[in-house]
């Protein structure tokens, strides 16, 4: 995954930021890859599957707990590294 600067994070907006973790809903394998810091590029199919907004809600920065809001559902997972990158990007 390419580093997320404040400028690139903000310019990508919610959809861009979400695109990077849209694969999380794919299941435990994707979650494990995210937790390890290794992220496979999204396939065209995965990108096209995202047809609406997807939001991230950092529920607990200390534990890295994030809630992904997409369609009419939510997925909660922990990724302290991603939370750290987002927080630092927002400074």
């Amino acid at each position: 995954m390419e580093p997320v600067s404040r400028r690139s994070f903000l310019s990508k907006g919610s959809l861009g930021a979400v695109g990077a973790i849209g694969a999380l809903s794919a299941g435990p394998v994707a979650l494990a890859a995210m937790a390890s810091g290794v992220e496979e590029p999204l396939s065209d199919e995965e990108v096209s599957a995202l047809t609406g907004p997807l939001f991230l809600h950092v529920r607990d920065a200390a534990s890295g707990e994030i809630e992904v809001l997409v369609d009419e559902s939510s997925v909660v997972f922990k990724d302290p590294a991603l939370v750290a990158r987002m927080l630092r990007a927002s400074k």
């Binding site: 919610s14 907004p53 009419e72 559902s73 939510s74």
Partner: protein, 457 residues
């Protein structure tokens, strides 16, 4: 008001504000359920006249096993379209039909039924889509035959029944101006702590509109096992009913005219028994109550058991309610009426008990047929077809609940308790406003007031 602007958060979100819920048995073994939203609409409120929210999930819930959770839910989702982007007007000529080309901004909606069972995942069934709402009632030039427009918007549902969604005259009646002025009841205000001359009640909502969702469906579509109960004392004869509105968990505004929402639906408003959140739940807990399901209402039972209003009446009307002032026991009568239903054996031939789960729902015994001559005081007036057995449009729920809180129903629990004479007489004096008309057919709620005619010259 019953639940118009009754909680701090929802008072800032009128499109999602569930103001009243009604449920009553109708002919041909059907039940009609009405939920109203968008409180205190000013009829002339153009050019952006009132409408449902495209970003709101409106629901009617039915509990048929007494656990305070929905077994059947009807969901309503709205979509708005603008026909002419070059005008600021709602309509550019008379609206004579639901497809009039001069009607610029219109809404349609879908109806989905959700069946929840313990043995399987929720089953959803689309009952109707693209159903048109009628326009708002603008005036004699814009909506020259409003009743015909509304009648055309009554739509049959797959599986039986009818649905209607659109503007109607608010059927609720209450004297807000006096009640919120330190609990004044104008017909009795000479007895108030700060006395004034007695006066007639003023119906604050007598020319207000609301947005109504009305559903008439077979009883068998709602009961456990698909039965049509005929024994009022049978356990399966009582339905718990309430309305709600929900918004998605997150919304982002990317441009002034563009918003995006995602995430699960979060309930922001609900309504079962009239006035429950309004006058029972303290202000600090009202938003929380709106977000919870009825199955969680045990935490609010303490407010029913010791209602604040029962303590205020003897203070606001010195010497008028001495027996009420001495009543310190928990109000088992109110707990039954509002949270569990009235068990068999209390009132001969009647019950609307749903079990021990404390849940604020309208409880409708569908085995009790409609009354030939409805009494506005419902069960308190000897009419078992009325509130708190469901709720009809004509039930004077303000008076019924005022009198119940004042002690008239406590002898059901304690035969030795003698209510104060005033308890059986108090009312806000708004029943029977001459301008308030209802239909004698579905959707029953009256034609909305037009912006041209209200306020009158």
């Amino acid at each position: 008001m019953s639940s118009h602007r009754e909680a701090p958060s929802i008072s800032k979100d009128p499109v999602a504000d569930n103001t009243d819920t009604y449920a009553f048995v109708t002919p041909d073994a059907t039940v009609t359920i009405i939920t109203n939203y968008v409180p205190a609409e000013v009829p002339a409120g153009g050019p952006n006249f009132y409408e449902f929210g495209d970003d709101v999930l409106y629901e009617i819930h039915i509990d048929n096993d007494g656990d305070g959770r929905p077994d059947v839910t009807y969901q309503f989702r709205f979509a708005t379209t603008i026909r002419n982007t070059d005008t600021f007007l709602y309509n550019t000529g008379p609206i004579t039909s639901l497809d009039s080309p001069t009607w610029n901004r219109r809404q349609t909606y879908s109806v989905t039924r959700v069946d929840e069972t313990q043995r399987e995942r929720a089953r959803t069934t689309l009952l109707a889509s693209g159903v048109p709402c009628p326009p708002c009632n603008i005036g004699p030039r814009s909506t020259p035959d409003y009743p015909a427009l509304a009648a055309a918007a009554v739509t049959s549902l797959t599986g039986g029944g009818w649905v209607f969604a659109g503007q109607r005259a608010d059927p609720f009646f209450v004297d807000l101006g006096s009640i919120f002025d330190l609990g004044t009841l104008r017909p009795f205000e000479s007895l108030h702590l700060i006395p004034m001359a007695n006066a007639s009640g003023v119906d604050t909502l007598k020319t207000s509109n609301v947005h109504t969702i009305a559903l008439r469906v077979p009883i068998a579509a709602l009961t456990r096992g698909g039965t049509v109960p005929t024994d009022p004392l049978g356990a399966g004869s009582v339905l718990g009913i309430w309305g709600s509105a929900s918004r998605q968990k997150a919304t982002v505004r990317t441009h002034p005219e563009s918003t995006h929402s995602a995430g699960p639906w979060v309930q922001v408003s609900r309504l079962g028994n009239p006035l429950f959140n309004e006058v029972i739940v303290p202000m600090a807990d009202k938003d929380r109550w709106n977000a919870l399901p009825p199955s969680a209402d045990a935490e609010f039972a303490k407010y029913v058991a010791q209602p604040e209003l029962a303590k205020l009446l003897p203070v606001l009307y010195p010497g008028v309610f001495p027996h009420l002032a001495g009543l310190t026991a928990d109000r088992a009568d109110l707990l039954a009426i509002l949270l569990t239903g009235i068990p068999p054996g209390i009132i001969p031939g009647f019950q609307n008990f749903t079990g021990s789960t404390q849940a604020d729902m309208l409880r409708l015994n569908v085995a009790i047929p409609p009354a030939a001559a409805p009494n506005r005081l419902g069960l308190v007036g000897g009419d078992p077809a009325g509130f708190p057995n469901g709720r009809r449009l004509t039930d004077d729920v303000v008076t019924i609940e005022l009198r119940a809180v004042a002690g008239v129903t406590y002898p059901l629990i304690d035969h030795g308790f003698v209510p104060d004479a005033a308890a059986g007489a108090i009312e806000d004096g708004t029943f029977g406003h001459p301008g308030r008309t209802l239909l004698n057919h579905f959707p029953y709620v009256g034609t909305p007031y037009s912006g041209y005619d209200v306020p009158a010259a």
